[in-house]
């Protein structure tokens, strides 16, 4: 009975979606805020990757909030899973191959992550994608050698706090300058050069470090959570 009602409900939903789809007007896809941004972004922000311009400049506050969501989620994750007991059983040590692989991959992932972050205003990629790779870099050793403390927890909380604070502080700096919060500062430079687009690369670096540390923290919390028995 339950399945039947559910199926009926979904069928109705499908029909409704089809009806809505029939009404969608595809003719005006060229008139939108995004195209207006495309026309002026290179001039206003100096970043060759317009998605980066939108993420960090035009919709910078969204990104700040998104970082805050990750920060909050990591904090709550730590609170929910709690501290593990000292005598709690650990996962068995991983094999030689994984250990060596992790050792070899660590610097490589670090470099790749930073590269992707620092080229975020020029090529696809940026703080989020690079941050995930950084998180993977710091999580891999934990997977290979369960129980090691790669970085002191205090350093992690300091870094993630400072990375978020940097983002806001750059925004506040603009206010001291008499501009609006989060206005991009510094020289825009030459379009396509590594050092260009003013504060955007710095912001993306903060984003990357923040994303990396929060995600690594979340992963570590989950991996360190005590097993059921």
């Amino acid at each position: 009975m339950r399945r039947f009602t559910a199926a009926l409900f979904l069928l109705g939903l499908g029909v409704m979606i089809a009806a809505i789809y029939q009404h969608i007007d595809f003719s005006n896809t060229a008139v939108n805020a995004g195209q207006a941004i495309n026309a002026v972004a290179a001039e206003e922000t100096g970043a060759a990757n317009f998605v980066t311009s939108v993420v960090l400049a035009y919709r910078g506050i969204d990104t700040l909030l998104e970082l805050t969501i990750l920060f909050t989620a990591a904090m709550i994750g730590g609170m929910v899973l709690g501290r593990r007991r000292v005598d709690a059983p650990r996962d068995p040590d991983a094999g030689f191959i994984l250990r060596t692989g992790a050792d070899l991959l660590f610097p490589l992932l670090l470099v790749v992550g930073l590269y992707i972050i620092l080229h975020g205003h020029l090529t696809p990629g940026g703080g989020f994608q690079g941050g995930v790779i950084l998180a993977a870099a710091f999580f891999l050793p934990l997977l290979a050698r369960p129980g090691i403390t790669l970085i002191d927890q205090r350093v992690v909380s300091l870094v993630e706090g400072l990375a978020g604070a940097t983002f806001i502080s750059i925004g506040l700096l603009a206010m001291f300058d008499g501009k609006e919060f989060l206005t991009p500062l510094l020289d825009k430079g030459e379009l396509g050069a590594l050092i260009s687009a003013g504060t955007l690369p710095i912001l993306y670096l903060a984003v990357g470090i923040k994303v990396g540390s929060e995600l690594a923290g979340l992963l570590a919390h989950l991996a360190e959570a005590e097993a059921l028995d």
């Binding site: 979904l10 896809t29 290179a42 035009y58 994750g77 899973l81 379009l191 994303v211």
Partner: protein, 155 residues
């Protein structure tokens, strides 16, 4: 292939993912399936957002070596979806953490059972004896009305 231009196919993918996700949330009781369902629903919504201003033949919104394409894709939905994906993973991690704790406390991930045990726990904390009905989930609306009135008036 005339009726199935790529726009239609992509929209079918978006709405299809959303429908499958909703059905996962509505039909199943197991928490992991529900979380999978939410992830699928989110994926569908992200794709829908992405398609909102998709225009065939547009180039990616990146200037490479100073060549400005004649028409570039809309960067705004891309930024929005980027944000939505990251938000999604944060909430996913939170859901999984909570799932681990709830399973440790209640020994189950069946959401009906979790709800039942939650109701029992709340009632026990409040010092109310719940009518022990094991065959159906304890729903507040299903607490026998008469017993409440009698108890209240009789005391």
């Amino acid at each position: 292939m005339d009726i199935l231009d790529s726009n239609t196919i992509l929209y079918i993918a978006a709405f299809g993912l959303m429908l499958i996700g909703i059905s996962g949330i509505v039909i199943s009781n197991h928490l992991m399936r529900i979380i999978f369902g939410i992830a699928l629903l989110e994926a569908g919504a992200n794709l829908l957002l992405m398609l909102s201003t998709y225009h065939e033949g547009a180039a990616a919104p990146i200037i490479v070596d100073g060549n400005v394409p004649a028409m570039m894709a809309d960067p705004v939905p891309q930024a929005l979806v980027l944000t939505a994906i990251v938000i999604g993973v944060g909430i996913l991690a939170l859901a999984l953490s909570l799932a681990i704790r709830v399973q440790r406390a209640y020994g189950t991930l069946d959401m009906r059972e979790v709800r039942l045990k939650l109701e029992q726990e709340i009632s026990a904390d409040a010092g109310i004896d719940m009518p022990s009905s094991s065959e159906k989930p304890a729903d507040i609306a299903k607490v026998p009305l008469n017993s409440v009135v009698q108890q209240e008036s009789g005391s």
